[in-house]
């Protein structure tokens, strides 16, 4: 799990082009799309994360509701990947 979270941090930084953000600065338990999150993610980033899951982990998000719970935080993302990775 820890290993996967660290890997996800690097992939997210690359996919979302988060300039000047170090993996250590991303709190895995923090809400990803919260207004208070200094990452400042928005709906386009959500689409980028869907593509990332499909491309890197062969996981397809089928509904908006499903996406909401998966992308709550890095931890929820990692948990979902571990449960569903083929």
């Amino acid at each position: 799990m820890e290993e996967l979270i660290e890997k996800l941090k690097v992939q997210i930084i690359k996919q979302l082009n988060l300039e000047d953000v170090e993996p250590s600065e991303i709190d895995p338990s923090k809400m990803l799309f919260d207004e208070d999150n200094e990452l400042g993610l928005d709906s386009i980033d959500a689409l980028e994360l869907i593509v990332l899951l499909d491309k890197e982990y062969n996981i397809k998000i089928k509904s908006q509701e499903e996406g909401k719970s998966i992308f709550q935080s890095l931890t929820t993302m990692a948990e979902y990947i571990l449960q569903h990775q083929q």
């Binding site: 996919q15 979302l16 082009n17 988060l18 300039e19 000047d20 400042g40 386009i44 689409l47 980028e48 593509v51 499909d54 491309k55």
Partner: protein, 334 residues
């Protein structure tokens, strides 16, 4: 009806140090087949969270728009008109590469959204909260001139008091490879360049006015030299000038015989030695001409001009005898 139009603010990113409305002391010369821009620290002008999604050309377009608006003391805009031939080519490359690498799957939205030619004009409008007329001209080597003429027509029709006009094109590694293969770029002979120049045009002169935009026109495949000369003479007549009144011709051409036959009192300077060849290079020429008319000594030095008093500047670019463009600028008393 023809009206006076003034350049009241400008922002210019080029291979030279031009961002601060004057030419840098050191003139950068081409080394190799390409000249690339000297870019500012974009974090000073664009929010970090927005910056991460912007490619270089969008950053250059926004930074020059910011600078030009600041320079003109933020007049309310009635139109945003952009000219670009290559558009956001870096994002276009990224999008196309993803299509190839992933067999038409996993296309990410950002590169697609940002790859359209009207991205820069759209982003300027979003950041300035400006929902006025917004247009992007993709017209090859006369993209900037098309934008400029559209702006002039809006002024003539009384539809605008202040208009933002820019000319922007970026160079990328892949575009460079293609240009070299096509023998468009060659070290020492045909140096390719890039740049972003933004202007705030106004119907009224201000204390910051650089120059008056006295005329602009373009010709597509003119039948002979005479028809080009006639077009230049028509622009001069409309401005109540004759060819002898031109003090300086900023030329983009290797063969300068036409302009030398016509403007016998003028000095001639090739502006592309400072910015390289790219489709909207006349926007760079217009910016440095405006700086020179406002009295920037470094621009005069960089262009190697001896004349003490330059009142009228003609910018003439002939691209492969297909697209000819002419821009006329005149000095104003501030």
């Amino acid at each position: 009806m023809k009206k006076n139009i003034y350049i009241n603010g400008l922002g210019n990113i080029s291979p030279q140090e031009t961002f601060y409305q004057a030419m840098g002391e050191t003139v950068v010369k081409a080394e190799g087949a390409f000249m690339t821009c000297q870019e500012p620290n974009y974090k000073e002008f664009i929010q970090k969270k927005l910056l991460r999604r912007m490619s270089r050309i969008v950053r250059m377009g926004l930074a020059t728009a910011h600078k030009a608006l600041e320079d003109a003391s933020h007049p309310p805009l009635d139109a945003i008109i952009s000219g670009t031939a290559w558009g956001c080519v870096k994002d276009t490359e990224k999008f196309l590469e993803t299509i190839i690498e992933h067999n038409e799957a996993y296309l990410t939205p950002t590169a697609f959204v940002q790859s359209t030619h009207n991205t820069v004009a759209g982003q300027i409008a979003l950041l300035q909260h400006c929902n006025c007329y917004n247009m992007s001209y993709v017209q090859g080597n006369v993209s900037f001139e098309s934008a400029l003429i559209d702006a002039m027509l809006l002024f003539y029709d009384n539809k605008a008091s202040n208009i933002l006009v820019n000319g922007i094109d970026e160079q990328t590694e892949k575009l460079g490879i293609l240009l070299e293969r096509l023998q468009c770029a060659k070290a020492g002979e045909r140096v390719m360049g890039e740049g972003a120049a933004c202007f705030i045009l106004g119907a009224e002169q201000t204390s910051n006015t650089y120059a008056q935009l006295t005329g602009a026109t373009m010709l597509y495949r003119p039948k002979d030299k005479t028809s080009v000369k006639e077009s230049i003479q028509r622009i001069l007549e409309e401005a109540n000038l004759d060819a002898q009144a031109i003090d300086l011709v900023l030329t983009g051409n290797q063969d300068q015989s036409l302009e030398k036959e016509l403007c016998t009192n003028a000095e001639f300077s090739s502006y592309k030695k400072l910015c390289g060849e790219y489709p909207t290079s006349t926007a760079f020429a217009t910016a440095i001409a405006a700086q020179l008319l406002k009295g920037d000594p470094s621009t005069k030095k960089a262009l190697e001009i001896n004349k003490k008093d330059v009142q009228h500047i003609l910018i003439y670019n002939n691209h492969q005898d297909v697209n000819h463009s002419i821009v006329l600028l005149s000095k104003v008393d501030n």
